[in-house]
């Protein structure tokens, strides 16, 4: 007989919160049931408010600080790797596959941690304009990003749906569906990390119930869809996004510099050179 192991909460603005609707849904793993929040429209709106604040705070950290914060997160994940491994195994992975996934996830964290203070060097440049001007293209993060996790039972994939945008300095609202236990568990490490409140928010639920609210929300600057969506869902998202020209990326790259590119804006500054 399975037992209810734990009731998880969303993680928004540095706090564990129930869905304001009070609704939950049940995720059944090998030995346990978990009750997890079924995110409502109102929860999305609250998450955006938190993410906006979190964005400002996350922005204030220097790239060097961001590297350290992400590295510290990797240390905590590593310290708790048994917990994640257990969830993965309960979700059906073999021990060795689960181990490998955790190892990959930690490697991903290390890679992006070390990228936080480098991506701008790799994407910006001094432009050789014809004339007596200093012209530099530097990069800024897009703002509040909603990321939709894949359906895989993979801790690494979860992180790869979060880290590219987070590393550029965006604040993230990470949304997972039936595999949300991993994300909700990650919230505990986020909470213990030095990430500013609201920089990374974790929601769980049924994406189709909030698809309109997210894609219509003007203060979500970008949506990154890592999950396979139906054509009609993609259409809904893009149609809604067009009202405020929200940036939509569907199945963006999850490795290399190119994984960060969808989340940056290029700002080019000109200045004359004279006496």
């Amino acid at each position: 007989m399975n037992e209810i192991k734990k009731t998880y909460k969303n993680y928004v603005g540095g706090k564990y919160v129930r869905s304001e609707s009070g609704k939950t849904f049940r995720i059944e793993l090998k030995n346990q049931f978990y009750e997890v929040p079924l995110t409502s429209r109102k929860d999305v709106r609250d998450a955006v408010v938190a993410a906006k604040k979190g964005y400002t705070e996350w922005q204030k950290l220097t790239p060097y600080n961001k590297t350290q914060v992400l590295y510290r997160l990797s240390e905590m994940v590593e310290g708790n790797s048994e917990t994640y491994q257990q969830i993965l195994q309960e979700s059906g992975l073999t021990k060795s596959k689960a181990n490998q996934d955790i190892k990959n996830a930690i490697d991903s964290l290390i890679w992006y941690a070390g990228m936080a203070d480098k991506w701008e060097q790799m994407t910006g440049n001094l432009n050789p304009v014809a004339g007596d001007y200093f012209n530099i293209s530097h990069q800024e993060s897009l703002g509040v990003v909603f990321t939709l996790n894949t359906e895989e039972n993979s801790f690494n994939q979860l992180l790869l749906s979060i880290l590219p945008s987070l590393t550029t300095g965006c604040s993230v609202i990470s949304f997972s569906g039936d595999n949300s236990i991993l994300a909700l568990k990650l919230a505990e490490d986020i909470n213990n990390s030095d990430l500013p409140s609201g920089a990374l928010n974790i929601l769980s639920g049924n994406f189709s119930q909030i698809i309109d609210d997210v894609s219509n929300h003007v203060e979500i600057n970008a949506m990154a869809i890592y999950k396979d969506l139906t054509s009609s869902d993609k259409k809904i998202i893009r149609e809604n996004a067009s009202k405020s020209l929200k940036r939509i990326v569907i199945k963006p790259p999850t490795s290399g510099l190119e994984s960060l590119l969808p989340f940056i804006e290029t700002k080019t500054v000109w200045h004359p050179k004279g006496r």
Binding site: A130, I237, L245, K251, E258
Partner: protein
């Protein structure tokens, strides 16, 4: 008082040869379109009919796609260096025929010959030169693997810089290995048609550059075609939103360069005389038909009176008139429709309570004209302070502190460009960091260069044109 009037100094239009009627350009040659509909393109400075152009329909777009498919077969087999050679040749030919292009641009679009000759055409050639050189260096352009061209790219360009916008679109698209179907603006198609002749002259493989003239219905047919894998659009935010919505059901690439309502912030420690010049250039360049125009003068309150006095004096020296007169600073408004829009918004500005200053100048009897206009005593809530006017109309707002300047500057859905005027270096950088805009001109304005990325934040669109960043608008980044 004696005055010294400059005698007319007219650039001869004998150099251009305009056909009575134009077809569309597919498979490397001019063809009669399936559409039998034509529209007249006129000179906005005289209202004289210059030519009739085809209004391409859905069948014409289908044919253009067929042509492009054939073009892509050839183009994708060429090495980068081979593509580069074609683009270099185009650049050279544009330079050689730049006077012809400049006259045609001023005739068809109404912009002063001074600008088409000294700004548009040199920039057009520079764009082809710049992107030609990238064609064989794509693999080392970004630290990423697997950059691939989209294939067939649909491009829709506006009427404010017709040939320049063509070059911003066509040069990077071809350099990166795409083929192009271009739809120029309905009021300014002539330089694009002449460019098609150049493509023939350099022997560009058939189907690589395709041109379908027309109006909004032609553009819509292009946007809706399922075999177009990337749309690049420059124009209004409303149409940009329409395109994002219209293409929502397809996994295609999309870059949009849309409207703006740029703040030109002048701090009290600016080099005032150069700031006045920059503000004038910022809003009156190309009749204010510039998406990145500095249409909001955000002025530190303690220098308001001195600055406005100098600005009004400077505005008074602007010469409005015949675009082909070499001494004309401000030409004709591009169309009757645009003139009506400008007039409407200016009237709104007056009725909302703004103080209007317009220069005293004689306007020609025919054609579409608008006097350089400055609003003071305007409030951030006024329409003239919020909506893109796209004409020679400047609205002044004042601020007390740098924080307030930033608040005012960012208080708009647009985010294309901004200006900063101060001689204090650290204040420039502080301000630039906080402005939500893709292009920031500090102690200058309206500067462009092929190597300098251009494009907006927020509802001014997405994607960049120009520079290394501009390549990414035409390359798929594959996971």
């Amino acid at each position: 008082m004696k005055t010294w009037d400059y005698a007319e100094s007219i650039e001869s239009s004998a150099i251009v040869n305009i056909e009575k009627k134009y077809g569309i350009f597919l498979d490397g040659e001019f063809q009669t379109a399936n559409s039998k509909k034509f529209l007249k393109t006129i000179s906005p400075s005289t209202e004289e009919v210059l030519s009739s152009i085809t209004v391409g329909n859905k069948n014409d777009i289908d044919s253009a796609v067929d042509s492009a498919k054939n073009g892509l077969k050839i183009w994708s087999k060429l090495t980068g260096t081979e593509r580069a050679k074609y683009l270099f040749k185009l650049a050279r030919l544009i330079q050689e025929r730049s006077r012809e292009f400049a006259v045609l641009e001023s005739l068809d679009g109404g912009k002063p010959i001074k600008e088409s000759r000294d700004f548009d055409l040199p920039q057009v050639a520079a764009n082809f030169f710049y992107f030609a050189g990238w064609a064989d260096k794509l693999d080392i352009s970004w630290n990423t693997k697997g950059l691939k061209p989209y294939g067939i790219v649909g491009q829709i360009i506006p009427w404010n810089f017709p040939l320049l916008m063509l070059s911003w679109k066509v040069a990077p698209a071809l350099a990166t290995g795409n083929v192009v179907i271009l739809k120029p603006a309905e009021s300014t198609p002539l330089t694009a048609l002449l460019f098609a002749e150049l493509c023939q002259e350099v022997g560009l493989p058939p189907g690589v550059f395709n041109l379908v003239t027309g109006d909004g219905t032609t553009g819509a047919a292009l946007v809706q075609h399922p075999d177009i894998s990337k749309i690049a659009f420059t124009g209004s935010t409303a149409v940009g939103k329409y395109i994002q919505n219209e293409t929502a059901g397809r996994d295609i690439g999309l870059t949009l360069e849309l409207g703006g309502k740029a703040a030109n912030i002048v701090y009290n420690d600016a080099a005032i005389d150069q700031a006045v010049e920059g503000v004038v250039n910022g809003i009156f360049f190309n009749q204010g038909h510039v998406c990145c125009a500095g249409s909001r003068l955000v002025l530190q309150e303690d220098i308001h009176d001195e600055f406005v006095s100098k600005l009004e004096k400077r505005m008074q020296s602007l010469r409005v008139g015949n675009p082909l007169d070499k001494n004309t600073d401000i030409g004709a408004i591009n169309s009757k429709e645009q003139l009506d829009k400008i007039s409407f918004l200016v009237n709104e500005g007056v009725s909302e309570g703004g103080t209007i200053f317009q220069t005293e100048c004689e306007l020609p009897a025919n054609g579409f004209w608008f006097r350089p206009t400055l609003f003071t005593n305007a409030q951030p809530s006024y329409k003239i302070a919020r909506e893109e006017i796209f004409g020679p109309v400047l609205t002044t707002l004042t601020f007390r502190t740098p924080e307030e300047a930033i608040d005012i500057a960012n208080n708009t859905e647009y985010g294309l460009s901004a200006g900063i005027w101060t001689e204090k270096g650290s204040k420039i950088l502080w301000t630039a960091d906080r402005l939500q805009a893709g292009v920031i001109w500090a102690n200058t304005f309206n500067k462009f260069d092929p190597s300098s990325p251009f494009g907006g934040y927020k509802e001014s669109g997405f994607g960049r044109e120009g520079g290394r960043h501009g390549l990414l608008s035409y390359l798929k980044v594959q996971s």
